[in-house]
Every structure is written in structure tokens, then in C-alpha cells.
């Protein structure tokens, strides 16, 4: 039986309900591009997401529709995801700070005494 749908495009396609469908063959996928947008000239570009695209030019075209349609934007960057170098989560320990480097934290600044004293006064 031919499928009758409320969507006239489906009805027009004359799809036979009884017919068995073979799943489509998996084809090559486009690469992903990381998208950065800039809200105002002079401000930093911010990462907003990814798009799949066949090249940089179309990545920009797609990024425009997906990430700037409803928001303010003056400029876009796209970068191939494969061109982004990343750290390994196994190496996350490189970001840990050892206790004897506490002098790098603002807590050890002299002014902290006064800030601490101020906070205590506020809490009373």
C-alpha cells in the first residue's frame, strides 16, 4: 500500500509500505570544523561549536547559519578539527600545582591579610 501522509512530499514520493527497505550504504562523512565567532570588533573570538563541511569556504557558510543567525556576530573563524592539537587527559597531572609553589597564588600576597580582615568584619 502506498503511504498517505499529511506531508504532501511524502505522499508524492509514492512509498510502498509493504516494500522492504535496505538501509543506505554508509558513505564517507565530511570533516568537522571548529567554529569561533566574534561578537564585536576588537573582542576575542569565542568557540561556539562545530560544523560538518566539505571545505573551509562552505564551513564558513554553514557556521554563519548555525551560529550567528540569532545572535550578534561580526566575524567568524573556522579551523579543521584535525588541525587542533590537544593535550591528553592522561596528562592532566601537568596542570596540578604542588604545595611549595603556593607563592604563585594570590593568597600569599600581603594584601590578602587586609582582604581577609575585611571579609571577617563583613561576616560579624
Amino acid at each position: 500500500m502506498i503511504i498517505q501522509s499529511l506531508d504532501p512530499r511524502v505522499t508524492r514520493s509514492k512509498i510502498d509500505q509493504e516494500k522492504e527497505f535496505q538501509p543506505l550504504q554508509q558513505l564517507d562523512q565530511f570533516e568537522t570544523y571548529e567554529v569561533f565567532h566574534q561578537k564585536k570588533r576588537g573582542t576575542q573570538h569565542q568557540h561556539v561549536g562545530i560544523v560538518h563541511a566539505p571545505n573551509h569556504e562552505l564551513a564558513i557558510m554553514f557556521a554563519k547559519e548555525q551560529y550567528s543567525r540569532r545572535g550578534q556576530c561580526v566575524n567568524l573563524w573556522v579551523v579543521k578539527t584535525s588541525d587542533v592539537y590537544v593535550t591528553d587527559y592522561d596528562d592532566a597531572d601537568i596542570f596540578e600545582t604542588t604545595p611549595d609553589k603556593k607563592h604563585r597564588d594570590p593568597e600569599s600576597y600581603k594584601v590578602m591579610d587586609r582582604i581577609q580582615a575585611y571579609k571577617e568584619r563583613q561576616n560579624k
Binding site: 504532501p8 512530499r9 565530511f30 560544523v51 560538518h52 563541511a53 566539505p54 571545505n55 569556504e57 562552505l58 557558510m61 554553514f62 554563519k64 547559519e65 548555525q66 543567525r69
Partner: protein, 256 residues
Amino acid sequence: MEYTEKHVLAVKELLYKMADDQLILGHRNSEWTGLGPILEEDIAFSSMAQDKVGQAHALYQLLHDLGEAEPDTVAFMRNEEQFHCCHLVEIPIGEYDFSLIRHFLFDKAEQIRFELLSSSSFEPLAQVARKFRGEIKYHVMHADSWVKLLGKGNEESHGRMQEALKEAFPMALGIFEAGPYEDALQEAGIFQGELHLRQLWLEAITPVLHAARLAIPVDVDDVSAFGGRYGKHTAYLQPLLDEMTEVFRIDPAAEW
């Protein structure tokens, strides 16, 4: 220069054909929504289809300001012989190659038309033309990117684009079918005319098609797709109108 009655008729005729082209192609292109080749392209193409309907609305509003019926009434209550659109926009979406080539050929002409109109002596139209400049520029960039990529792609993509161009090109010439008021439009500085537009369009599409390694059909005087501007349409328009207006016609006075 004071507009005479003839100039007003000329402006109306110009607005009708532009608006009808935008509305019908906008509706056609929206048939890809949900069926586009990839998600990102589906979103972009749907959004541009929506832009076209919005542009049509702005032009119907200008017509309303000149005494014609409300935009909704004009868009949804006319029959095919009252439409001024060209045949190119009526043809079903076909496969994606055809829809892309149509998008390329039509939007390039539209961009140049709006560019010319942005200095029209009919100021309300000049304002509308300036307002949509950025929107249309994006449509053209999008079309150019795909045409160049697929034209130069592989044997299949090149072959499909070339075939689609061969099919769509004579129909695209129908965009430039002279209207009944070409002289009046030119003498009043409203619009430079369809012939002038066609020339600029040919100059604009040629380098892109060259870059895409696509051969341009040679007969630029083919009139096989003429008639649309005078209400003579292909067999595809009335079914499109029936489908497009189905909901509206249930209750034309409904508040949405």
C-alpha cells in the same frame, strides 16, 4: 519627475513579478526542509528559503501601499494566470543538483536587480533593495561555493552540475522576459530594464561557471521559457499554489 498613471502601473508590474518569483522559489526551496543532503546544508537552505518568503512579503507590502490587496490575500488567493513569476521558479525541486543550479542562476540575477534598484527613483523600493543587500549577498556566496566545489569535484558531480545547468539555463532566461512597461520604467529612472539586467547577469555568472569548469549554454536568446510574466505558466504552478494555499483557504479570515 512626476509619476504618471503609467509609471505606477509599471512599478506594480515590476513589484508583482519580483515578489511572485521570491514567493514561489521560497516555497519550492522549503520543500527541501528535513530532506537536505546534510544537516548543515538543510538548515542553510531552509533559512534562505525563509528569507525569500520574507522578501516577497516586503514587496507585497509595497504593493499594498500602492492600493493592492493585503499581502496574505495577494499571496494566497490568486490563481495561476494572475501570477507573474517566471517558469524557472515553478519547476519541482528535482535532485539537489538542479535546486543548487537554480539557486545560483536566480539569486545572481536577484542580487544584481536589487543592486540596480537600490538607486531607483521609486524610493520605497530602493529602501527595500538596500535592506536585503546582506541577506542576498550571503545567498550568492553560498551558491557560488557549491557550484565551484561540485563543478570541479569528481566526474559524477561535474556531470550532474553540467546537466542541471543545461536544463535550467533556458528557463533562467525567462527571468529577463521584457515586461509591458520597460520604457516607462527606464524614462522615470525606476529600473534600467530586463535586457540590461540580463547583460550584467551573464557577465556575473560567466567567471564563476568558468572557475567551476562548467560550459555555459550558448543560446542566450532562447525564448522557450517565456510567458510567465504574462500569466502563462508551466503545468507545475497551479498544483504548487493548491498545496501552498491549502491551509489558508480553509478560513481566509482566521487570525494567526
